[in-house]
Symmetry: C2
Subunit: 213 residues, 2 copies
Amino acid sequence: MDIAILLFDRLTALDAVGPYEVLSRLPDANLTFVATEAGPTRTDTKALALVADATLADVPHPDILLVPGGPGQNEAEKDEAILDWLRTAHETTTWTTSVCTGSLVLGAAGLLEGKRATTYWLALDELAKYGATPTAERVVIDGKVVTAAGVSSGIDMALTLAAEVGGADLAQMLQLGIEYDPQPPFDSGSEAKAPAHIVEVFRASSRFILEGG
Amino acid sequence: MDIAILLFDRLTALDAVGPYEVLSRLPDANLTFVATEAGPTRTDTKALALVADATLADVPHPDILLVPGGPGQNEAEKDEAILDWLRTAHETTTWTTSVCTGSLVLGAAGLLEGKRATTYWLALDELAKYGATPTAERVVIDGKVVTAAGVSSGIDMALTLAAEVGGADLAQMLQLGIEYDPQPPFDSGSEAKAPAHIVEVFRASSRFILEGG
């Protein structure tokens, strides 16, 4: 089973690495990080580079493809090489997936037309411009298209996908493998749950995900 | 505030990237991935390389240091260059931290003597050989040493640390930033919660974290 995770400049690392940690451990998984050019790809904070081992052309027909988000998504949405690759790959994928604003890149490729989909909470309305129905859920499955909400939601999406691919026992084993028994010290992980003043400060801030860290 | 995250061959990527995604967004954070040699470091599955931008010698006195785990921890525990760096850095850190079996590397450096500490669930007993008190909690704080349980627990640890460093509002803003509102599709993330047959199969498997993916 070939799995391709797209990398691009100024992606948010956890969008890609959370799901990678689950999907790379699926039975018979052959997971490859791909980019328009092979080599190191610098993430949004500049403090980390993830290495793409292959170009887009090297993996034209993955069974599962995953598009992460991050501020670089703005350029990725306009990158015809990426959009062409996504369109062609999507014709033969079993699952086409995204995390965070990666869904906007799927949308730009025309793959969300008429689909329910989600994205990073601050970007949810933007899905409509691509003909998708913005859906404020953590993981949204519509046919073979699976979109996840912001950043850390990719872990939940990947476990959901693991259950679809290999059954509940496999997904639970993978969850135990990454000891994913989340115990955040606060309950501030969504617009609905975070204190109002936190949401307000966050919206006003320019230091975060959409703006580039 | 200088933050150093150690990389070594065959680390588990999420151990490092989960906390990175939080800690790199602390105010005034200057986060650097360090390794014995700068350049790409291949993770346990071989499907990903993370780039270390600096050598150990480049960042001798970080304010926060973080040691991830993964199967490569076995070699890291015997690597005198790493152990020397940890001992020297620890003298002046504000926080010395680990995720997963990274705590065994702290232990090998002599930094857990007499401390309560945690690690990956399958490795918990091994902490005793370094004079630590194995503590089956997700995040354990003992003085300035903060250890986290397996892989994904690094996110909880980093948010806990963010609150210590910058207060609850900051931690909650960072949590909202990575939309960390975990909704795993199963409740299988710890030895205590996973179904017994899952734990049994996992223990018998050689495909997972401790053994190298």
